[in-house]
């Protein structure tokens, strides 16, 4: 083969494939021990010294600085699973790496990569079909319990796991159910997770986390004299600066008469005053703005006995506007060119309380006219724990959302993988081409999940797995049997309440196979060291 005249290095064939696979397996080994209810956490320290303690595969991999290009593909896979499902990131990475390892072995055994690829794809399709047809259980008849159980399963591997899982699972279910919105045009129910309001507050034990009724705003009345409690709240949501009105750039003030100067200063204040008065006259008693309020302007609010908050985050403001039916205003101008404020722009809520959490004061807005809203208040001994709690909680809300949207669950604890593995072994016998070997390998690779689960729990992986496989082989009705990692036994996990959304398994098998195929298909790696790679692009 002739040499290629490029600036850089090029490697091809089996070297590249083995290199890629090694890189991926190395990454999977990092997250391997964090899988499952008895999995452990990782402490990640970045170059600044910031510490993250987490069990979430996506977070771990995001923090790693991966240099190997194939490793980056795997990292993207984790991110993809995180975006689409929000949970199961660790298992998808472990599975992809295991598939790659097996596939590479097959290639070394002189099976052509294209055969391996088509075999993998065949096995994946069969798995997805099997999960959808045989392994999943519809949730319609299972009710709220299944949601709580799914949330619990997701939480079980996390820091919120064992002791507090009841508390948090219920909180997660409540929080997601709260967000239910019916799409105006399509009529479908949606659960936008972005509207689950999570507030982290350091201090107190995790047990004391709870759901606060109402929307908690991390802000308080801008001045001391403002009331701390209001009933029959009329809310004005503004995106307007309530400070002294300044002239625009390009307007210069030229004063001949000193009196005029004073008048101008007064006028600057008065323009703002007129605006404030317009709101107060319309009946507003809780005024929120995303921008600033001058101290001089604050006195009008104090005099009127209303609460005014400045620098409210835009995201919170939108939520409050949606909740109370207020119109988020960017200007007071009306269609006649004057400035007015109408009462119809105000939103309403039952009450507004200033509450103290730790050293901070929160403003709770309760009983919005349009939607009820709750706030999840997470407590923990330190910031690192609070962060991890928020991540875990987010994962479990994502799981609840998936169950609600797809209405199907599968048993967890390795049950699905073992069932699929057995199914594939039978399926392999029906293939009379070279793909048969690949499908069998796929079946073996699936077992990496129960194996790792058992290993992390310090159980005898081989024995447990043998028991479980025997149980599954006994009768197809035993499909929900999985591992009980605390007791080191096997049990019916569907009855024990260890469930995962079916879609999460389907996606993770699809993603893992896709990633494995993407990496296997590569037979050439070209690293460029040229001055400006973009030049080649344009030229």
């Amino acid at each position: 083969m002739a040499a290629l005249s490029i600036e850089g290095s090029r490697s091809s064939g089996q070297d590249v494939r083995s290199g890629n696979v090694t890189a991926c397996v190395a990454i999977a080994n990092i997250v391997k021990t964090s899988l499952g209810p008895v999995g452990l956490d990782k402490m990640l320290v970045d170059e600044v010294g910031d510490v993250t303690v987490t069990n979430d595969g996506a977070t771990i991999i995001k923090q790693l600085e991966i240099e190997h290009p194939a490793g980056k593909v795997l990292a993207e896979l984790a991110a993809q699973q995180d975006d689409e499902i929000g949970d199961g990131t660790t298992s998808v990475v472990i599975m992809a790496a295991e598939l790659l390892r097996c596939a590479n072995q097959l290639v070394l055994d002189k099976i052509h990569p294209t055969t391996v690829i088509s075999g993998l794809r065949m096995a994946m399709r069969e798995c997805v079909k099997c999960i959808k047809k045989e392994l999943s259980t519809p949730t319609e008849k299972l009710g709220r319990d299944v949601l709580v159980n799914a949330a619990k399963t997701s939480l079980s591997s996390k820091i919120l796991g064992t002791a507090e899982s009841d508390l948090f699972a219920n909180m997660a279910v409540d929080a997601v159910l709260q967000t239910k919105t019916i799409d105006d045009y399509s009529g479908k129910a949606r659960y936008p997770l972005s509207s689950v309001h999570i507030l982290k507050a350091q201090g107190k034990s995790a047990h004391e986390s709870h759901i606060l009724e109402g929307f908690a705003l991390n802000a308080m009345g801008a001045a001391q004299g403002m009331p701390t409690y209001l009933k029959g709240v009329r809310i004005a949501c503004l995106d307007i600066d309530l400070r002294r009105t300044k002239m625009k750039m390009g307007v210069s003030v030229l004063v001949n008469n000193p009196d005029e100067m004073q008048k101008m200063a007064d006028r600057e204040l008065d323009i703002t005053k007129e605006r404030i008065m317009a709101i107060l006259n319309a009946g507003g008693n809780l005024i929120l703005t995303t921008q600033g309020i001058d101290d001089t302007s604050l006195k009008y609010f104090v005099d009127a006995g209303v609460i005014a908050c400045r620098r409210v985050p835009m995201k919170d403001m939108k939520r409050i506007a949606a909740m109370t039916g207020a119109t988020l205003l960017t200007s007071f101008a009306d269609l006649d060119g004057n400035e007015t404020f109408e009462a119809s722009m105000l939103g309403s809520a039952d009450e507004c309380v200033e509450e103290r959490v730790r050293d901070d004061k929160l403003l709770l807005i309760k009983g919005g006219a349009k939607q009820r809203s709750n706030t999840v208040l997470l407590r923990g001994p330190n910031e690192i724990m609070c962060d991890e709690m928020a991540r875990s909680f987010h994962d479990s809300t994502a799981v609840v959302k998936r169950v609600l949207e797809n209405n199907a669950v599968v048993a967890g604890g390795g049950a699905v993988e073992v069932a699929l593995s057995l199914h594939l072994e039978n399926f392999a016998l029906s293939i009379s081409s070279r793909e048969q070997i690949v499908v069998t390998e796929f079946a073996d690779a699936l077992l990496v999940i129960p194996k790792t689960l058992a290993m992390n729990a310090a159980q005898d992986a081989s024995e447990l797995l043998a028991k479980l496989r025997a149980k599954h082989a006994e009768s197809p009705a035993n499909k929900d049997w999985g591992l009980d990692l605390i007791e080191g036994q096997i049990r019916n996990n569907l009855e024990a309440g260890v469930v995962e959304p079916a879609i999460s398994k389907v996606k993770s098998i699809q993603f893992a196979t896709e990633a494995a195929i993407t990496i296997l298909r590569i037979d050439d790696l070209i690293r460029l060291e040229g001055e400006n790679p973009n030049e080649a692009l344009e030229g």
Partner: protein, 544 residues
């Protein structure tokens, strides 16, 4: 050194040719040719493994750490940043194939590489380069007639056949498992924009009329052909304006709805406090007048071009527009204006005073939709009177790597359909045409005499590299496959090709593996011409 070569051609050089420098010149030109051919072959070898439905991918890592995984020959070569001038010619070759036919960019390079190898051995035999070049041209002419003989006409109304052609192109790509989804998108979008060409009586397709819009998020499953127009810009909602309007009248604005700025040197001078109010009020009035004019024209959706000098919209103008229930989409790029204007059938308006009812486009529904993955796009459906039909394809992918590859693959598929519209003939895929050409050319070479016959023969043999590579990439035994193919073709079964799915040699037309005649024809022409050019070079002169 170079002088010696130049001198040999001039009158005075006639004498010199007999001395030592003449010998050296021949030697030198041999070296130059050899170095060129080796460099070019290196490039061809680099992409060889990515040929065909079971071809492998290349991973290219550029200096800044960005990784690219692709199967598209043109993309691989462009990104590879080759240095050798002759190798660069091969890169250009695949680019021209990309422009001409859009697909077959790997094949063209592989064929060129094979022809170069063939010419090397011909040169070794002492055949003069110009004769080889001549012989290749003769072979090419014959090959093209063979191809036309094999081709089957296509009816553009036969959607099924077009789908098959698009799938054949997509099957070799990274996104092959989505070919059942992407093929109909490609076919429908091209057929929608095809236009009768008055000059030739046929049809023409301008791929500028097909817009692919990329948006990260979701999976390739979410790709779709949009009936109408898709804009990646979100609609301005800060002031609470509408995000869905049915029975829309769309205005395409190239003016700004913001207060005019004074020049840098000028300034507005305020001398008493009353004028402060007047300034504020004047600004409101100014914007209000604009908004009222817009409202009066009947427009209820505004697409506003991005502006650098002035704010395209201000908070205040958005507030007014929201009050009169006009939907606003800002940040429309200058380059998008033409496409939007022709697909919606509206005239871009450069001043608010010029905005009249006849410049608006009537659209049934304009709405902002949230895609899976929380991204938003604005969709305009039910366009009433477009100037020219256009189509918009929304491409989704979970990350930029996948997204870019999906777009490249889709582009190839679009080109395939375009080639079919331009030249309505199809030919079997799976390397059937290459084998058929090889067989026919070998027969033809027997009718010729002298060195030409030898060259045509070598050309024929070189073509067999395509079936050979295809079989090799698919994990089949190349020698077995190629000999079997020869046998079947000799029996007259000229549609026999490699069936990669079954791993055997079968009638490939029955398997519906088809490609446009234009693709293979242009690949043959371009590859041969490129090789002829390379052969004729006998010196490399470095100059500043």
């Amino acid at each position: 050194m170079a002088k010696g070569g130049v001198g040999a051609g001039s009158g005075a050089g006639a004498l010199k040719r007999r001395d030592g420098s003449g010998v050296r010149t021949t030697q030198k030109s041999k070296d130059v040719r050899l170095s060129n051919i080796t460099a070019a072959k290196g490039v061809a070898d680099a992409v060889r493994t990515s040929l065909g439905p079971r071809g492998m991918d290349k991973m290219i890592e550029v200096k800044n750490g960005e990784v690219l995984i692709t199967n598209d020959g043109a993309t691989i070569l462009q990104r590879m940043n080759v240095q050798h001038p002759a190798a660069k010619m091969l890169v250009d070759l695949s680019k021209s194939q990309d422009i001409e036919a859009g697909d077959g960019t790997t094949s063209v390079v592989v064929i060129a590489g094979a022809l170069l190898s063939a010419s090397l051995s011909l040169l070794d035999m002492g055949i003069h380069p110009t004769i080889i070049s001549q012989g290749f041209q003769t072979a090419l002419d014959k090959a093209v007639t063979v191809l036309s003989g094999m081709a089957v006409p296509v009816d553009l109304n036969d959607r099924e056949t077009l789908l098959q052609a698009a799938s054949t192109s997509l099957n070799s790509k990274v996104v092959s498992q989505y070919s059942s989804l992407l093929a109909p998108i490609a076919v429908d979008s091209v057929l929608r924009v095809k236009r009768a060409d008055a000059n030739s009586g046929g049809f023409s397709v301008d791929l500028n009329d097909v817009r692919t819009v990329k948006k990260v998020g979701g999976t390739i499953d979410d790709c779709e052909l949009v009936d109408g127009l898709v804009l990646t810009q979100e609609c301005a909602r800060s002031a609470g304006g509408p995000t869905r309007i049915s029975g829309a009248k769309v205005a395409l604005c190239q003016f700004q709805i913001s207060p005019p700025k004074t020049d840098v040197e000028n300034s507005v001078v305020v001398q008493d406090y009353n004028s402060m109010d007047r300034i504020l009020k004047e600004e409101r009035q100014h914007l209000l007048q604009m908004v009222k004019k817009i409202k009066a024209s009947g427009a209820n959706v505004l697409l506003i071009q991005k502006s650098i000098l002035r704010d395209a919209v201000t908070d205040l103008s958005l507030h007014f527009l929201a009050k009169v229930k006009i939907m606003v989409i800002t940040d429309v790029e200058r380059s998008e204006i033409e496409f939007i204007s022709k697909s919606l059938g509206c005239t871009p308006v450069a001043s608010v005073d010029a905005l009249t009812a006849d410049k608006l486009a009537k659209v049934d529904l304009v709405e902002e939709v949230t895609l899976s993955g929380e991204e938003k796009v604005v969709r305009l459906t039910g366009i009433q009177n477009a100037i020219t039909p256009t189509s918009s394809i929304l491409v989704r992918g979970s990350n930029n790597l996948v997204l870019d590859e999906a777009e490249r693959s889709l582009h190839d598929a679009l080109c395939v359909i375009r080639s079919l519209v331009r030249k309505q003939f199809m030919i079997a895929g799976g390397s059937a045409p290459e084998v058929e050409m090889a067989i026919k050319l070998a027969q033809y070479s027997k009718e010729l005499s002298g060195m030409e016959s030898h060259c045509v023969r070598a050309y024929a043999d070189a073509l067999e590299v395509v079936p050979y590579t295809l079989a090799e990439n698919a994990g089949l035994s190349p020698v077995e496959i190629v000999t079997e193919l020869r046998r079947r073709h000799a029996l007259g079964e000229y549609n026999t090709g490699i069936n990669v799915k079954k791993g055997r040699v079968t009638d490939i037309l029955e398997e519906n593996v088809k490609m446009p005649l234009l693709v293979i024809e242009s690949a043959m022409r371009l590859a041969t011409e490129c090789v002829r050019l390379l052969l004729r070079i006998d010196d490399v002169v470095l100059c500043r």
